[in-house]
């Protein structure tokens, strides 16, 4: 099954996620124990130098997935291979090396920066811990600040002296300080205004080109994800239901959930926005504790078939590296 799913790729695979699961236990009453299946049996690959967008609604497991991939939390089952090696088997020096190569930028810059540290301390902390020789530390930090559009005068200021956009720039500079290969960007512009968002997104794109970075870009905003990514994966209650090239996904969405998601985005153009047909889907995502059997989307799906209630559809390549997990697109013998 695994072989069939993925065609031959030109570029090298940097991160390979294999049947990853992360369940969080919840105790209800005294005896019974349930699980929130935040990430359930997810497999995909991220190629070197690409930006993979990950979209989904709140509670779909995007952030949990991003954290497991960086081993910020341990998975329940499954594996993540980084450069062909399982990150969950890394120990000591090897793990430290991985921590250096893979960085994260969090959603809320107000809480991801220590209010009692200056910008200089925040950015130099990583290289110090990893014992990297940076030459003159002050010059090193100034250079990074300039890379993210800040100035020398900001060096000894504290986070509260900056605006939200500037704080996010500091968080990005901190991630870059270790010269990473792979950066997980978890809703990096959700807390920012549109005009500030535009400058941060542009900067992230420039940095990616300049340093050859690989991104996993997590967001609930499809317009932003499309602007940033070459490929997009859609998540629904802990599963990836569709992956395709960005243009392909927008022009030819296959999974009913993706179709519904796309038709829900308000388009900033009144001529289109007022006439656009909307695919109405009733209801809300199911509780992650009591998930339906079979396909998790079938209770809301306008095209549900008998098989959808019984069996969960596998994520299959339907041609042109467009993968979808839906019984409408075959895979009957599986």
């Amino acid at each position: 099954m695994q072989k069939k799913r993925w065609g031959v790729k030109m570029s090298k695979v940097l991160v390979e996620v294999k049947n990853l699961k992360k369940y969080f236990p919840v105790r209800r009453f005294l005896l019974s124990k349930d699980f929130v299946k935040a990430v359930d049996n997810v497999s995909f690959q991220i190629h070197k130098g690409e930006c993979l967008g990950l979209v989904g609604e709140s509670g779909s497991g995007k952030t949990t997935l991003g954290r497991v991939i960086l081993r910020l939390i341990e998975p329940t089952a499954g594996d993540v291979l980084y450069d062909g090696k399982s990150i969950f088997e890394l120990k000591g020096e090897e793990l430290k090396e991985f921590r250096k190569k893979a960085q994260m930028v969090f959603q809320d810059p107000y809480s991801s920066l220590d209010p009692r540290m200056t910008v200089f301390q925040i950015i130099i902390e990583g290289p110090r811990i990893h014992g990297i020789d940076v030459g003159d530390p002050e010059e090193f930090v100034v250079k990074l600040l300039e890379t993210v559009g800040l100035k020398r005068e900001h060096l000894y200021r504290y986070p509260h002296e900056f605006s939200g956009g500037q704080k996010q720039r500091i968080a990005i500079a901190r991630a870059l300080a270790l010269n990473p290969e792979f950066v997980v960007l978890d809703e990096p512009t959700s807390a920012l205004d549109v005009s500030v968002q535009a400058s941060i997104l542009n900067m992230l794109k420039e940095l990616q080109a300049k340093f050859g970075l690989t991104y996993l870009f997590i967001s609930h905003d499809l317009a932003v994800v499309k602007y940033m990514s070459r490929r997009i994966a859609t998540m629904y209650v802990g599963r990836i239901v569709e992956i395709a090239e960005s243009e392909e996904l927008f022009e030819n969405p296959l999974h009913p959930y993706t179709v519904m998601l796309l038709s829900s985005i308000p388009i900033p153009d009144p001529k289109i926005a007022k006439k656009k047909p909307r695919i109405k889907v009733k209801g809300e995502p199911p509780s992650p504790i009591r998930l339906p059997e079979g396909c998790k989307f079938y209770p809301r799906c306008p095209f549900a078939m008998p098989i959808c209630k019984v069996k969960e559809p596998p994520l299959l390549n339907v041609g042109g590296d467009h993968l979808v997990a839906c019984w409408l697109y075959g895979g009957g013998e599986m």
């Binding site: 005009s195 499809l222 998601l261 829900s264 308000p266 900033p268 926005a273 007022k274 889907v281």
Partner: protein, 336 residues
């Protein structure tokens, strides 16, 4: 489209906040007419004063804020009354009754200690629209109208038992309970997912069509404005810099700030190579820049922009802009 029957008219509104750091000049002479039955969208970024403007309409400005001067005329029956001069007990009859609000965060709009049904019914009982018995029955109907599944049992639930989208529906039910003339929706969907947002917007549109309610929609989301509004006002740093019919604003934006805002928004249907951000930062409104408040970030700033505030000019029918690029220099605008 609606006729030109003005239902709400804001004139020369000034609101200041007296903070320890200094006086924040949050609203700086806003003029605005809203027509009966239309959806008027107010857009702008954080801190531009869109929420403050909407709250000033029924004097909901919390301390240390103060409405300095101005008038808010509301057409009650067929006479205009100045809401800012009404006695407190009169304005309370209008608030939540003729003019009602939907705020951004449903969790803090609802009281966790009362059931959903109680909170909806209370609004009607307080305004003498019904007794508790009828109000309770009407609450069930309202929940049904706002498409809450199983409304009979939902009225007995407490807010924490519902999801965010469902809670916002309860808030909408409260706002609609007295059949308001004007509904002020302040970022009603910022805290919910896109699919829920789409449903709530459909709901508001339908109710508006059915009942002819006038809606003032406040949001920072250009896409929502494009989808919902008939006319739009763009706010920047306490000023209403441009007002236009929706299609006109997107096709032919005039103010450099509006142009910048539209360029900074990614349109998912287009292939965009590069977004163009607006340079600089929003000014501190304790010390706002003199003249036009946008001039430090404007690529077209002229000497006069630093000195005098631009007057409002009607460039084409219904399209107003406050910018020196479109005004005669002799005319001059309001004083700071």
């Amino acid at each position: 489209m609606s006729g030109k029957d003005v239902i709400l008219s804001i004139r020369n509104l000034y609101v200041n906040f007296y903070t320890y750091a200094g006086v924040v000049k949050a609203i700086n002479g806003v003029d605005l007419d809203i027509y009966r039955g239309e959806v008027f969208g107010l857009v702008g970024e954080t801190g531009c004063g869109k929420s403050v403007t909407s709250r000033a309409i029924t004097r909901l400005i919390p301390s240390p804020g103060r409405i300095e001067k101005g008038e808010v005329f509301y057409k009650r029956d067929s006479e205009f009354v100045d809401l800012l001069k009404l006695p407190e007990d009169e304005i309370r009859k209008i608030r939540g009754n003729e003019i009602s609000y939907i705020f951004q965060d449903p969790t803090s709009s609802l009281d966790p200690l009362y059931t959903n049904g109680y909170q909806i019914a209370e609004t009607m009982v307080v305004h003498d629209k019904a007794d508790w018995n009828d109000a309770w029955k009407r609450a069930v109907e309202l929940l049904r109208e706002t498409l809450i599944p199983d409304p009979e049992s939902r009225v007995k639930n407490y807010p924490h038992e519902l999801s965010g989208g469902m809670r916002q529906r309860v808030v909408i039910s409260i706002a609609l309970s007295n059949d308001p003339k004007i509904l002020i929706a302040d970022e009603p969907t910022t805290n919910v997912d896109v699919t829920v947002q789409a449903e709530l917007m459909d709901l508001l549109k339908e109710l508006q069509k059915k009942k002819g309610t006038t809606i003032l929609l406040i949001t920072h989301h250009m896409g929502l404005i494009a989808e919902m509004a008939d006319r739009v006002g763009v706010m920047y740093a306490g000023n209403l810099v441009e007002i236009a019919p929706i299609e006109e604003l997107f096709e032919n934006p005039l103010h450099p700030y509006t142009k910048g805002l539209l360029r900074a928004v990614p349109n998912p249907l287009q292939k965009i190579e590069k977004l163009i951000p607006i340079r600089g930062m929003v000014p501190n409104l304790i010390y706002p820049p003199p003249g036009c408040r946008f001039h430090p970030r404007c690529d077209f700033a002229k000497p006069i922009c630093k000195e005098k505030r631009p007057p409002r000019v009607e460039v084409s029918p219904g399209h107003f802009v406050e910018c020196w690029l479109y005004a005669e220099e002799e005319v001059g605008g309001k004083n700071e």
